[in-house]
């Protein structure tokens, strides 16, 4: 097996670079595999593949729309993972979906399926610390990294406990709200990064509300990097094909690489 997500992101940090995690909706169209490969070639450090769920309460309008389109076209968790398996990419992959997708399959089976599909990590945004054990234990056994979210509403003590259970990286929620592009970067994105850096050695990445290269740079002043989702999915929905998506990823990559932090 290639490098884990954590190893990849720690190596990035040690090389004094910022990490870029790119989210894209799985099975959105026939270009799915090509898009993943293009995003990988354009400089993403980790690629998060969204498995659409019927009721995505943590997602804003853009990802909801992509979700609905993928579901309407007949995409299933199995069909996405089958396609993921075929993808030639040296970039570690994570899956982001909602807990019922894993629960309905059974957590052991889901963890094993991810591992067999070449997926290194998993994010389940509606599975908080209090409920995570059954899943996280199953994932640990399969060496699938369970990436937990840490939100601005948590106490320092809670942040510290969440960081201890998280694998791969800690996903700092940049603002109070659901996924989506915002006009300006919320000050909470900087604050949550700073609070997390104080309590953990895990890579700290901030996501939700990071929509432009400038915002990515701004948020990375304190964090080890960013997760970019809706902006990428918006580009996918515009239908310009994998190259156009890759070009946007490249813009984020360049902005992060050319800034002195």
């Amino acid at each position: 097996m290639s490098q884990t997500i954590e190893e990849t992101l720690v190596a990035k940090r040690e090389s004094k670079k910022k990490s870029l995690v790119v989210y894209l909706t799985g099975g959105l169209d026939e270009h799915f595999e090509a898009t993943v490969e293009e995003v990988s070639a354009s400089g993403a450090d980790v690629i998060e593949i969204g498995i659409p769920f019927s009721d995505p309460v943590m997602d804003g309008p853009t990802i909801q729309r992509a979700n609905d389109m993928a579901l309407t076209s007949g995409t299933t968790p199995i069909s996405i993972l089958d396609r993921v398996k075929q993808i030639e990419s040296s970039t570690p992959l994570a899956v982001m979906t909602y807990y019922n997708i894993a629960a309905s399959m059974g957590v052991e089976r889901f963890a094993s399926l991810l591992a067999r599909s070449g997926v290194s990590g998993c994010i389940l945004p509606d599975l908080p610390l209090e409920e995570v054990e059954p899943w996280a234990n199953a994932a640990d056994k399969e060496e699938v990294e369970t990436i937990l979210l840490a939100a601005p509403t948590a106490s320092d003590e809670r942040l510290s406990i969440i960081c201890k259970r998280s694998r791969g990286f800690i996903y700092g929620v940049g603002l109070l709200g659901v996924t989506g592009v915002r006009q300006e970067l919320a000050s909470s994105a900087i604050e949550i990064s700073a609070r997390l850096k104080k309590v953990t050695k895990l890579p700290v990445l901030v996501g939700v509300g990071i929509g432009t290269p400038d915002q990515a740079v701004e948020a990375s002043r304190v964090s080890d990097g960013v997760v970019v989702g809706s902006a990428i999915v918006e580009r996918m929905l515009e239908g310009g094909g994998p190259e156009r998506v890759g070009a946007l990823v490249q813009e984020f990559r360049t902005a992060l690489d050319e800034t002195t932090f």
């Binding site: 609905d68 997708i101 309905s104 509606d126 209090e130 409920e131 939100a151």
Partner: protein, 395 residues
């Protein structure tokens, strides 16, 4: 038929579970709010001043206690003795006000300034808008586009009461999607907003807290039954969407010999046709496909048009203490007219499900005493029913 273990309803465990159902499956952003709500609710419930303020509002503002009404004509027609718990006579027209007054007072005590709610039929939305007006709070209600169309009267009532009604345009554009939108709003506004959830569902402590606020109706019904019948009825029947009115009345009889029956719409029979799953904060029976995608329910009644059910109902079904049956839209339309004609009481389409089941099962209920929770009045449904019945007339 076995009644399962005869006990009063139990409180959930530390993790918010009733048996293996319940829990707290919401985004991390909301967990501190859920923990805070649990703590505040426990404190408030133990506080005499809070309880007496709530009791006062329930009696002087909402009109409690609601009466128990004997149905002589319907009883004669069906061959069993039918009694109705008249939650339709509460202020705002349904049982929903019990929970809303409790939550609104609690929200105010917690320093929240905005009430956020989802609504299906609009009864919970109207109740929330009412409490917000009374307590001087801001109010925002999410409602599916389909429900806005079929429950226009309630949309107008909410606006009249000063609430903002926002349209949920995603998915099936009904209650399920209104909940999604309300949760997304809550994730963004958790510091100032209290999510005033309208049923015994959602993450812990909601299923337990909402039940507790509705126990008042079960307690009254038990006392009224003992007084009227000298005992408990043979059966206690209530409709179940999320299941708040049912849990309210079941709570008064769970420790008795009365048989408890929840009636679901056939197009939204989560207990009857679902399998355990996780959505909207808890693990419970759920209509879903083989991959865990939540299915869309389909019911004539906007208030029951929901693919899930409160976790405690799943537990009651699992333990055998309550049983869950379903009726079709056609049977509901029939029952809606039956009660209106027989007793001069126009029921909401939701409790018309309970009446429909009793009417259908009349043979097996012969000679028995049946208590039905008439959870709401039908004024809100007459527009929709006018269309349904006129179409029928033309056939």
């Amino acid at each position: 038929m076995s009644l399962g273990e005869i006990n009063g309803l139990r409180d959930p465990d530390e993790s918010g579970r009733f048996g293996e159902f319940g829990g707290r499956f919401v985004p991390e952003t909301l967990i501190p709010a859920c923990l805070d709500l649990e703590k505040s609710f426990k404190e408030a419930w133990a506080d005499k001043a809070f309880r007496s303020r709530l009791d006062q509002l329930l009696s002087e503002y909402a009109g409690r206690p609601s009466p128990l009404t004997e149905c002589p004509n319907l009883s004669k027609e069906l061959g069993c003795r039918v009694l109705l718990k008249r939650e339709d006579l509460n202020h705002t027209g349904s049982h929903k006000i019990n929970n809303v007054l409790g939550q609104a007072l609690l929200a105010q005590r917690m320093g929240k300034t905005r009430l956020l709610a989802e609504t299906g039929a609009g009864q919970h939305g109207v109740a929330t808008a009412t409490a917000a007006a009374l307590l001087g709070m801001e109010c925002c209600v999410y409602m599916g586009e389909v429900d806005i169309e079929r429950q226009k009267l309630n949309v107008f009532r909410m606006r009249l009461l000063g609430a903002e009604v926002r349209t949920a345009l995603s998915g099936s554009r009904t209650l399920k999607d209104a909940i999604n939108e309300a949760m997304r709003d809550w994730v963004a506004t958790v510091e100032e907003s209290h999510y005033c959830l309208g049923s015994v569902m959602g993450p812990h402590p909601y299923p337990w807290m909402v039940r507790t606020f509705h126990e008042v109706l079960g307690k009254e019904a038990r006392e009224q039954s003992e007084e009227r019948l000298g005992t408990v009825p043979d059966l206690v029947v209530a409709c179940v969407g999320g299941g708040s009115n049912a849990i309210g009345i079941f709570s008064g009889f769970a420790d008795s010999e009365a048989e408890l029956v929840g009636v679901e719409p056939s197009g939204g029979a989560a207990v009857g046709r679902g399998v355990p799953g996780v959505v909207h904060g808890s693990r419970s029976f759920l209509l879903q496909d083989e991959f865990g995608q939540v299915l869309e329910a389909e019911s004539i009644s906007a208030g029951l048009d929901y693919p899930g059910v409160g976790p405690e109902h799943s537990h009651l079904a699992d333990s055998g203490r309550a049983r869950y049956e379903s009726v079709t839209d056609e049977e509901v339309i029939e029952a809606f007219q039956l009660l209106s004609r027989m007793e001069g009481i126009i029921p909401a389409l939701e409790p018309a499900h309970a009446i429909a089941w009793v009417s259908r099962e009349r043979k097996s209920l012969e000679g028995k005493t049946v208590l039905i929770n008439l959870s709401g009045r039908g004024d809100k449904d007459v527009g929709q029913m006018m269309k349904v019945l006129e179409v029928d007339d033309e056939k």
